[in-house]
Amino acid sequence: MNLYDYLYYIILPILSISVLIIFIRFLIGPTLSDRVISLDLLLTTGIGIIAVYSIHTNQPTFLDIAMILALIAFLSTVAFAYYLEKRERND
């Protein structure tokens, strides 16, 4: 089994299954904070999928997109936390 088959038939399906499992928590999460956490984890898993896909297609340009996705994940978490706290203070 060479590297490309291993990445395509084992690593990428496991990562996709983990995305589905995280999405269960995104759907059933009792509070808004649970959904923010699972969204952060979804974006983080997306970075991993992009890295594996860039190995599989032999195109390192995709790693730039991974960097931007990491930025967006951090910014969204911070913004959600800021406005959650602000909303609670205004009530």
Binding site: L3, V52, S54, I55, P60, M67
Partner: protein, 131 residues
């Protein structure tokens, strides 16, 4: 040799991400979920990115990968702390089997300022000088 390294690194990274995904569903409490997300997912992503750096074997791509890993290591604890603090203020309950809540009564609910035990006892002493 490089191929074996990529096999091992990508397998370990995927295993950690799968464990983080299972933990985020199975954990009973928001704060335990935050701890799972921060540690396991960051380690898994780091291992997969190091595998990509080994595969391309180019200094510019290695620098890019190191930048992503450093950024993830810097921002994951900060984001986890911010969302944990915000959800503590919005009244997310802890697990009912949790034993200790060190922050109970330490935060001012209006101003969100943290006051320690020593400051409280000092204030109490200044109010009641007889004791």
């Amino acid at each position: 040799m490089t191929e074996i390294t990529i096999f091992i690194l990508s397998s370990l990274g995927t295993l950690f991400i799968l464990l983080a995904a299972i933990g985020v569903v199975k954990m009973p409490d928001l704060y335990l979920r935050i701890s799972v997300t921060t540690k396991a997912a960051t380690l898994g992503i780091g291992l997969i990115l190091v595998a990509a750096a080994f595969y391309f074997n180019d200094s510019s791509i290695t620098a890019r990968v190191l930048a992503i890993i450093l950024f993830m290591l810097l921002t994951a604890p900060v984001g986890a702390h911010m969302i944990g603090r915000a959800s503590y203020f919005t009244g997310v309950k802890m697990w009912k089997k949790s034993i200790l809540d060190d922050l109970e009564g330490q935060y001012d609910p209006k101003t969100h300022k943290l006051s320690s035990e020593d400051q409280k006892s000092l204030k109490k002493d200044s109010h009641n000088p007889e004791e």
